[in-house]
Symmetry: C2
Subunit: 275 residues, 2 copies
Amino acid sequence: MNALTCYIDKQYLPLANAGVPATDLLVQRGYGIFDYLRVANNKPLFLEDHLDRFYNSATIMRLGIAETREDIVKIVYQLIERNNLPYSGIRLIIGGGDSADGYQITAPRLLVLQQPLTAPPEAMPLKGIKLASYEFQRQLWEVKTTDYLMAIWLQPWMKAQKAEDILYHQAGIVRECPRSNFFMIKDGTLITPASHMLKGITRKNIISIALANNIKIEERDIALTELKTAQEAFISSSTKRITPVSQIDDYILPVINEQSLSFKIFELLREKELH
Amino acid sequence: MNALTCYIDKQYLPLANAGVPATDLLVQRGYGIFDYLRVANNKPLFLEDHLDRFYNSATIMRLGIAETREDIVKIVYQLIERNNLPYSGIRLIIGGGDSADGYQITAPRLLVLQQPLTAPPEAMPLKGIKLASYEFQRQLWEVKTTDYLMAIWLQPWMKAQKAEDILYHQAGIVRECPRSNFFMIKDGTLITPASHMLKGITRKNIISIALANNIKIEERDIALTELKTAQEAFISSSTKRITPVSQIDDYILPVINEQSLSFKIFELLREKELH
């Protein structure tokens, strides 16, 4: 894996030689943002959406990216050409740059890494995962920061709950999973949180698919207590498209099949990737 | 500054060549801890206390440090010898290590950096700083994580308040400043928050000084509304010892002088460093 080429601080380097200086705020103060997109058949999926979000995160965090949008597009295609990983993930990262006082943002360094990734299945798996709810509100929730302290720290707790992922809530209002958005389906209506979470690109695609296919969609608060009324639920992410949820804490959801709405949305997402 | 020697991943290297691999969870997920101690006259101050806290942070974060405590002591003295910076700061950092899945903690890398630092003044300055209160609770508050997202992000807001530091509170209960602990003095009693903040080494020294000198001390919740009853207030940190506070939001504290209790505590702290 370390023979792969990455882009760091205006150079193409083998991943094994790519280090972020110990003086960068990314290292010393965890001050950084990223974005992550999937490559399928050597095509970067929804690149423009990811770049929109990356530059938006950078603006909120006051990180001036030296590279233009066109530069980043070129870098992404350079890595795809050099690394020959038709199914993979590309990670864009920038931090606060070298800081003499350990606090002042200076010249952010752009890193672009390409790494292998298993392609999602052709059809949605019918076996769902269990989510365990946990009270936590991500700081700077509208920004895709590199802050996954709580997510990683909670892994043993999650396993002790025999869960495969964590569902963050704040005072009983559902927010998101650490790396995915949450959706539930009730009486044919898709419902997803509206605020206080990171708005995923797959979430955005699902909403536009719903609008284009006359599937009712509500962006609004979901109380933990409302989850028990869900007929279907799933989480969405760039890497997996959608993953069905079969259990949330003690509540076991109805069994789904190929006729379920989740299954149909997965199909529509897969088709959207081809265009 | 980049000609300085640092220790990274079991090697002594010039700081300019010291990079943290882009695959380390410290870079990708902000999963890391650190500790920071002051060196005065080539002597690392309160090294044992800092090591206690560093290993405690590592245990809570499940970061297995390959280096023993004795190893780290040797590294600290090696850097002091090699860099010849009699007045400086030493930063110990470890992150989650290289992670194939970007989530699993592997073999943490230890970094030890020494950087120049202005020594604190011989006596406490009588001119205090203004604090601006902000509602925020640090996640994993008992751990000295590398997470300073909010602290750095708030810098322009803080300047707009014409403040020199931020006082975090949660639902009106005072917690800490981003890099310091908070104390207030009322009727000769020192009062400092008891929980939900990082317990500083200087805070610990102040408490032990108070106990040894018959200064009444209370570790308990302080409501924002109680701040208006403070006759003195200060913040404590390893780099500055104590810095007096002259204003918190709209409340202007009484003027202090060489007879003030804060001034005396600064003196006692300075003496404690010599032993």
